[in-house]
Structure formats: structure tokens, C-alpha cells
């Protein structure tokens, strides 16, 4: 079979190695505070996994369990605590828009997940740095960032092109338009030059920077295209449908497609390897590496700005 099935650990490894080297040079390892204020067993499992990975990399990780009614005040205290370098929260806590409020309560200086409005806004608007001098890169949400790194790893990003334009000419379908992964990912790829079809149950949206990448940032368009047409046109298909019964019809894919699944369920059938040139069945390990990478970055900015202040 010519299809290359990518082991996601291979993508994560160079990042982890780089992180370990950096951490080793620091006088004391950065501290990530993770708030668990729900009783979701999946969140607890993810927390244990993050703890293990952080220990392995040499980072400090502290899980704080608290009632959801205390969460906001605890976050406010952590924002002000100079010994805390990164803050994350296991969602859902209250669910819906109240969780959006909690996300914005985390200071952008400690937001390892990149979920506060400042980072979201900058990401959608293709603003890549926090400062005019371009010394502080914006934090990008972990799973979308992991998917970008995977696409770089498998050669979808064309290094011959200028950074920021390296997806020019690529068409990508993303089946998932959540605020946490699908929509930010669509924006990131479109800002990097791709033509993106963003699919959810309500329909399909098209994102791109215009012919010849004439726009500085992507725009969003309603489209009447069907999923079948979008798949047939796509060089890359990325799926994140959290249902084991949802499957992309392999027959509808372009021969040689790059297929990436970030759902915990398998959204591609087993015959995907007969059609795809590259198949990435999961992304989790790269996500945690990106979480750690974001923590190191925030730690670096905090130390730098402390020196200034």
C-alpha cells in the first residue's frame, strides 16, 4: 500500500526534544495550573495524561480541583500569582456561553489554551504578534496549532513559498466548525493561503484570501457547494466528528488526498489507505506538545516583562 500512515508520536518527538532542551536551561521550570471543576472522567484522564507528559518534559503541572462556584475567583487569584505561568480549564464547566465568560477571565498572559478573546481576535484577523516590535508571537489554540504542525510535517505546507502563504493552491475541507477546533483551524489555514471548506450540520462555509492571496486576512463566504463537491475538490480532508457512526465516504475523496482525523472516533473507513497518500488517524500527542510549547512561550514573555516592569 503506498499510503503513509503517520504515527503522531513521530510528529510530536522533535517538539518534545526541543522543549526538554529549553526547559533544562531555565533556573526553575514553568508551572501550569489546570482547573478541574467538573466530574467528567474524560477531563480527569486528559489531566493525568498532561501531568505525565509535563513530568516527562520537566515542566511543573498542578491540578486544582474546586467546585465550579469557586472557579472564577481561583482563576483571578492565579492570574495575579507570579509563580503561575500558565492556566488551563477543563471544559465544559457550566456549559454554553457562561464557559465563554470563564475563558475570557483567564489573563491572556497565562492563557496556554489561546481561548481568550484577544488571541481569538488576532488569529481570525491574521495578527501574529502581540507587540508592534514582533517579539511576542500570539498564542494559538493547541489542537488547531497541532493540526498546522502535522500539515507542515506531511508536506502540505510548501516551504518553497513565503511563510504565511505556504498553503497557496491547496484546497482543504474541515468537517467540524466548533469554536475550539474547527472554526479556528479553518481561519488559520485560510490565513496561510488555503481555500477552505468549513463543514458542519448547518451547511458549508468557504474561507480564503481571494485570488492571488490579494487579501491580508481571510474572508468568509456562504456557499451552496455540497459536501460531495467539496471533498472531490480537496487536497486535504480533516475530520472531527465525535460520533463513531459518522464516516467520510472514501469513494468521494480525491485520489492521493491527505486525510487527517482529530476526533476520538474514527471518521475515515479502513479503506482510506487505498485512496489517501497520507493518513493521520489521531493528533492528541501533538496537542499536548503544543500546550507545553505555549506554556514555555508565555513563561518567556512573563520573565521578559517582569525584567522590564
Amino acid at each position: 500500500m503506498p499510503c503513509q500512515v503517520v504515527k503522531v508520536a513521530d510528529v510530536a518527538r522533535p517538539f518534545i526534544t526541543e522543549l526538554k532542551t529549553k526547559v533544562a536551561t531555565l533556573p526553575s521550570p514553568p508551572l501550569l495550573l489546570a482547573f478541574l471543576a467538573n466530574d467528567d472522567p474524560a477531563a480527569r484522564k486528559y489531566a493525568e495524561w498532561t501531568a505525565k507528559t509535563c513530568a516527562d518534559t520537566g515542566l511543573r503541572f498542578k491540578l486544582v480541583e474546586c467546585p465550579r462556584t469557586e472557579l472564577e475567583d481561583r482563576i483571578v487569584a492565579a492570574n495575579a500569582n507570579a509563580d503561575v505561568h500558565g492556566i488551563m480549564v477543563y471544559y465544559p464547566v457550566f456549559g454554553g456561553t457562561q464557559d465563554g465568560y470563564i475563558q475570557n477571565t483567564v489573563s491572556h498572559r497565562k492563557d496556554v489554551e489561546g481561548l481568550c478573546h484577544k488571541y481569538r481576535y488576532n488569529m481570525y484577523h491574521n495578527i501574529r504578534f502581540l507587540d508592534a516590535e514582533k517579539t511576542e508571537k500570539c498564542i494559538v489554540p493547541c489542537t488547531p496549532l497541532a493540526l498546522v504542525k502535522i500539515l507542515e510535517h506531511v508536506g502540505v505546507y510548501n516551504r518553497v513559498l513565503e511563510e504565511g502563504d505556504r498553503l497557496h493552491g491547496r484546497t482543504v475541507t474541515i468537517v467540524n466548525r466548533s469554536e475550539v477546533v474547527g472554526r479556528p483551524l479553518a481561519a488559520l489555514l485560510a490565513n496561510d493561503g488555503a481555500k477552505v471548506y468549513s463543514v458542519d450540520v448547518d451547511g458549508i462555509m468557504e474561507l480564503h484570501r481571494g485570488t492571488g492571496l490579494k487579501l491580508r486576512k481571510h474572508e468568509v463566504f456562504e456557499t451552496k457547494i455540497t459536501l460531495r463537491e467539496a471533498l472531490a475538490a480537496s487536497d486535504v480532508v480533516i475530520t472531527g466528528v465525535p460520533s463513531p457512526s459518522y464516516k467520510i465516504d472514501t469513494a468521494q475523496l480525491k485520489d492521493g488526498v491527505v486525510a487527517v482525523n482529530f476526533s476520538t472516533a474514527k471518521n475515515f473507513s479502513d479503506d482510506i489507505t487505498e485512496k489517501a497518500s497520507i493518513y493521520v488517524p489521531s493528533v492528541g500527542k501533538v496537542t499536548v506538545a503544543m500546550l507545553e510549547r505555549n506554556l514555555l512561550r508565555l513563561h518567556e514573555y512573563l520573565v521578559k516583562n517582569q525584567g522590564r516592569g
Copy 2:
């Protein structure tokens, strides 16, 4: 019948009069830009009503209809347009958390609805001014603010007490915990000294500033109290359940209760006047007056800060 049924127009009138007087002194009337990016007939009707009220008060109102895909860029442009003093959006646009993103894209300097994170955070944390000199009051969301003004009008706020503590001793049940009305309202009333039971389908939360108002801001507690018990203990019951079949059982209310309904449906039965001392069947007109009041306030700050800048 000794129950006083409050005509909400009577509550709104002094505010409207005050607004008209203020607007008349200005060199040019403030402009409110309202974005309609959905095809909800209720939103259109509300827009027409707002246009009429603004015209009557002497304020400028402009309805901008645009596809939802253009909304964000239009808001960004309006943020930067010095001729625009207030911005509002008819929700839902995309629905769910993506609308939360849009709310935060409106500059707090022009957010007449008080829905951006800065105002929400300040409201929940009982921070009433934007500046340390206390010259700029924070914007409070229109419907919760309207309900506060109604409770002041009907004497639930006790003017003998210090401002900020005037609900000390009052118990209030609010049946609705939406992010737009119920939850902010619960926080506002608890911050003003009330003990609040916040009710939704998932259960009841209790909010207060502790015995003797010892806390600077309210805290939130999970409670096992039943709705029946909460109603029996409440001096004020405020409802906002958007279903005509939902009715509060009058028999469960305290004799002489103050009953306020902000839902478009009638959440109290007709026999409410046999038990309540005061009944407020609707709040809409006060909400629009508060929207205008917020606009005037933002206009005042914009002019002041322009002078400074």
C-alpha cells in the same frame, strides 16, 4: 384589589424626559448603529421599535443590514468610526459561542448593550467604574438594568440604606439564568445586598454577600433548596421563561410579594393580583430607555476622551 399593577411606561417616562433634556443640549445627537444579520422577524420588530423610540428622544439610529459573514468586519469598522457612538447587534447571528466572540468584538467604548467581557467582568465583580477617579460608570446590560430601575421605582430598593447596600434584607427569586438577563441580574441584585435564588432547569444557585454584607462582592453557592421553598422565602419573584405554558403557582408565593415578569410570555397566572402587593407584567419600554441611557453615557465618555487625546 389592593395589588398595584405597574404600567411600565410610567417607570420609563422620567428617564425618557431626562434623556430628551440632555440630548437637546448636545451640538449633535449621538448615533446608534444596530446590526441586523439574521432574518428573525422579532429582531426586525425590535429594531423598528428602537428606531421609533430613538427618533422620539432625538437620538440618531441607523439599522445596518448585512450578511452574517460580513458582520465582524463591519463591527471593526464601526469601532473605528468616530461618528458612531453606540453599537448593538441583534442576536442570535451564528448562535452559541460564536455569538460570544462577536459580542467581544464590539469595543467597550461603544458597547451600549454591556455584553463585552470587560463590562460583564466588572458587573460580576461589583466594580462600578471604568476609571480609578470614578468618573466613568460601567455599562450594565439593558434588561437587567431596566429590572433594577423597576425595583427602585416600586420601593424594593430601600433609600434609607447606603447606595450599593439597598437590597440588604431582601430575598429575591429569579426564574431564568441566561447570560443576557438572568445571571447578570442575579449578580446585580446580590451585589446590591439581596439574597438571590437563581433558578433554571438544571437547578437553583444562591448568591449573596454574606451575613451583614461582609463581602465586597457576591459569592455563588450551590443549594439544595426547592423552587417551592425559594418562592415561599422570597419578597420579590422575577420571571423570564419564554414559554406560555410555564406558570408560577400563585399559591406558593408569599403574601404581598412583588412579582415581575420580563418574559414575552405571561409567567404569572391572572390570580397573581390576589396575592402580590405589586405586579409588573412587562419591562420592554424601560429596556429601550436604558439602551438610550447607555448610548448617552458612552457618547459623553467618547467626547470627553477625544478632548483629552
